[in-house]
């Protein structure tokens, strides 16, 4: 047992969970030793001081998000950030990186197939009714050929480390995954504060992400366009992820537009410039499918561009990610991803799925209903942690109420064992102490005509409430910098 000093004075290790920095005996894990030397030398006053510097740096950058209350008013908050980084040795990272590449390659082939020949359905690997009952399956995409055959240009894969020390994929986010701006902003702040540690550990850089993103977007412009005009489409300043939309547009040096800035004429998309219309070739949209074109999807949407889908189907503009990709990150389809990988690539999955029960199957639903207290039940069509039911935290009445929801719409729910998300030391401002908190990892990947690129590390999200497993920013989560380290 190593002596715990400074900000770790009263750090308690719960042996039921995997602590990424400490062993259950209280020894520091090898790759955290140098980091710990730095942190242990900080007394509380020094730590609070640098914590304030970090917060002020992020605050001035405007690293904030909006939370919507019942009154539907967006309140701007600083996205909580913890200075103690999460470290992943490069060999361990290599497995994650290769696993992600394999996974999204297969998912992209799956998307092509289900919107074209539908072989995987005919071969009964994935049940057709599962796909066709998904609200994210878009019939408007049938037969559409996106440039390069690429549907999922930008993905965010949520990964956890269980108490067996292995990584599991929790979710694939194939629509508009958010969070990458926090990775880049967090890193900027950390570099200013812990300059020496970065060179000591040879931390792999993340700063090239936006250049790679721009290259990816440009690579999938419609044919015969040499110098495509690319834009980022945001729902507007009131959106909870607006900081990220403007950040990415700014970093790439391309225009951030809203739906009302564009119009479609003769199946071409134009933006309204001060000197007249200008043609748009690629739209990295941060607006959900249902809102991108009121003529095709939600007719009440004012966030999209009327006629956009027709222009897309005519091949005159590319939309990133392609419409209809949500069908492949549907939580029910998720359970088939290992089969999808084997089917298209003839390979064993490198990253494991969390075992999942599908309530649409009567035998699995029976198991779920009988074991609610040991399971996490999720609606397949919600994101951001909304509607998630964690069995061991619920009263009998709450369990009975939730059972009624499942009975009413079994297709809507899946269940998984309560996975033990790994833990890491996190400074809690209310107590002025470092405490164990659960973490996960959102890894970001880009897929363009030049291949697949995985950002080093990604966003480590931390559940700031004691014992909580939900790490989403909209539910009180924070973040940590993630270091992929080569030298330790």
């Amino acid at each position: 047992m190593e002596s715990q000093t400074g900000i770790f004075n009263s750090y308690k290790i719960d042996p039921a969970h995997f602590d990424e920095a400490w062993t259950p005996n209280g020894d520091i894990r090898g790759h955290y030793k140098h980091l710990m030397d730095t942190f242990k030398h900080l007394d509380m006053d020094e730590y609070i001081k640098i914590n304030e510097i970090a917060k002020s740096d992020l605050f001035n950058q405007g690293v904030t998000f909006n939370v919507y209350t019942e009154e539907n008013e967006g309140v701007e908050r600083l996205f909580p950030f913890d200075l103690f980084p999460r470290m992943i040795p490069s060999e361990e990272w290599k497995t994650i990186e290769t696993g992600i590449k394999q996974r999204i390659k297969a998912l992209n082939l799956f998307l092509w197939d289900i919107y074209h020949e539908q072989k995987i359905l005919k071969d009964k690997i994935v049940p057709s009714e599962l796909l066709f009952s998904s609200q994210f399956y878009k019939k408007e995409m049938i037969g559409v050929d996106p440039p390069g055959g690429i549907y999922i240009h930008i993905t965010g894969i949520d990964i956890i480390k269980h108490n067996d020390g292995k990584y599991y994929v929790l979710e694939d986010n194939l629509r508009c995954p958010s969070g990458v701006s926090y990775v880049l902003s967090n890193r900027e702040t950390m570099k200013k504060i812990f300059f020496n540690l970065f060179s000591r550990y040879h931390v792999k850089p993340v700063m090239q992400y936006t250049e790679r993103l721009l290259a990816t977007i440009r690579s999938v412009a419609p044919d015969r366009i040499d110098n495509p005009l690319c834009v980022v489409l945001t729902p507007g300043t009131f959106n909870s992820a607006y900081f990220e939309h403007s950040f990415l547009a700014h970093q790439m040096g391309i225009q951030l537009v809203e739906g009302r800035d564009m119009f479609v004429e003769n199946n071409f998309v134009y933006m309204k410039n001060i000197h007249g219309p200008k043609r748009v070739d690629v739209i990295y949209r941060r607006v959900d499918d249902d809102f991108i074109d009121p003529l095709v999807f939600n007719e009440k949407s004012v966030l999209g561009v009327p006629g956009l889908m027709a222009a897309y189907q005519a091949g005159n503009v590319n939309i990133i990610n392609a419409p209809g990709t949500g069908v492949a990150d549907d939580k029910a389809v998720y359970t088939y991803v290992p089969d999808i990988i084997k089917y298209y690539l003839d390979e064993e999955p490198i990253l494991s799925n969390v075992p999942t029960y599908r309530c649409e199957r009567p035998d699995e639903m029976k198991y779920v209903l009988e074991n609610m207290h040991n399971l996490v039940v999720k609606p397949v069509d919600e994101s951001g942690g909304y509607g998630v039911f964690i069995g061991d935290r619920k009263t009998k009445e709450e369990i009975e109420d939730y059972k009624k929801l499942i009975h009413a719409n079994p297709r809507k729910y899946i269940a998984q064992p309560i996975m033990s998300l790994s833990m890491l030391s996190t400074f809690i401002e209310d107590t002025n102490e470092s405490e164990q908190r659960h973490i996960d990892l959102r890894a970001f990947a880009l897929m363009g005509k030049d291949g697949i690129y995985v950002l080093n590390g990604g966003l480590t999200r931390v559940a700031l409430q004691k014992g909580n497993l939900i790490v989403n920013s909209s539910q009180g989560g924070g973040s940590k910098d993630t270091w992929v380290i080569e030298n330790y």
Binding site: N60, T237, I274
Partner: protein, 315 residues
């Protein structure tokens, strides 16, 4: 550039400029109230500040008495005052946020710092530092923002649009300040202390526009109202003068259109005509009916802003 973004940048420039003028005017007048002759009622000074800040009607709708601290807080931070400095800063920041991808990180961060400074102020903090401390900080933060506009942006269309907002707002505010001070001077009873009070009001006009030092250097005389009006209206080299700002408005429009010849009734034609009209007016002409002259000018600048809105900012 998108018309919507142009609109954001234009209003960002206007709101930022507005906060600076209100702060400076309030600061100068609060100093002035300390030294003012006893015959000038404190209430008149406070009314003058409220008028210039466009907050008079809202203040008397909410408050019964002209209290020094209340007026200062009202024009600075009061949430019920839609023309307060705080409201303008919030508007400026919201416009900058909407155009964040079109401006530099340095500029965004300086505007964000300004916003958070003003948002962090409550009544207790405000009373602790007073209107002097608050105004000083506001002016300093504006100076940093202006430096970032000029030193970190491409001097292209976006820069020109921000400057258009800034120069149109500055012209408007300078005219408003002049009108307010002419009214204050006209209110002085023609009694034995008239000249002394007029001198005070005149100095106050110059200090409210940061023109005091340069006008002294320019005229090398004891300041008088005629010189002050001439300096603030017609001087070609003083950055707060009306002619100086109208010339910059013309230049910014030329940068955007990149065409030297303009159709009659076009925005650019109107801007050039307005500049010519003012710069070929003499101080003697202005002094014949000064209030009528400045009111007319204010309307013409408002028309210019409307034409700009229609040509470039509507979408």
């Amino acid at each position: 550039m998108l018309s919507r973004i142009a609109g954001n940048l234009f209003w960002m420039g206007r709101y930022l400029e507005r906060t600076e003028h209100i702060s400076r005017f309030a600061q100068a007048h609060y100093f002035f109230s300390i030294d003012a002759p006893k015959s000038i009622k404190k209430e008149h000074i406070l009314e003058s500040v409220l008028n210039m800040a466009g907050s008079y009607v809202e203040y008397i709708g909410l408050q019964n008495k002209m209290e020094t601290d209340e007026v200062a807080y009202f024009i600075g931070l009061n949430d019920y005052n839609s023309s307060s400095i705080k409201q303008s800063v919030c508007q400026a920041r919201e416009n900058a946020r909407g155009a964040k991808d079109s401006i530099s990180t340095e500029l965004w961060e300086s505007i964000n710092t300004y916003y958070h400074y003003v948002k962090s102020m409550d009544k207790a903090k405000f009373e602790e530092i007073g209107i002097f401390g608050f105004s000083k900080k506001v002016i300093e933060l504006n100076a940093i923002i202006n430096a970032n506009v000029d030193n970190t942006l491409l001097h292209d269309e976006a820069w020109s649009i921000i400057h258009l907002g800034k120069h149109i707002e500055r012209t408007t505010q300078i005219i408003r300040i002049i009108v307010t001070k002419i009214n204050d001077i006209n209110r002085i009873p023609k009694k034995e202390y008239y000249n002394m009070i007029e001198l005070f009001e005149n100095v106050n006009l110059l200090k409210s526009t940061e023109a005091y030092d340069m006008s002294k250097i320019h005229y090398r005389e004891v300041p008088n109202v005629s010189h002050s009006l001439e300096f603030l209206t017609l001087n070609r080299n003083f950055p707060k003068s009306i002619v100086y700002n109208l010339r910059h408005i013309e230049n910014c429009l030329l940068r955007i259109t990149n065409v030297s010849k303009h159709q009659p009734n076009s925005l650019e034609f109107y801007a050039s005509k307005l500049l010519s009209t003012v710069q070929y007016t003499s101080i003697q002409d202005i002094e014949k009916e000064p209030l009528a002259f400045y009111h007319d000018l204010l309307n013409k600048v408002a028309k210019l802003a409307d034409m700009l809105e229609i040509k470039y900012l509507q979408y």
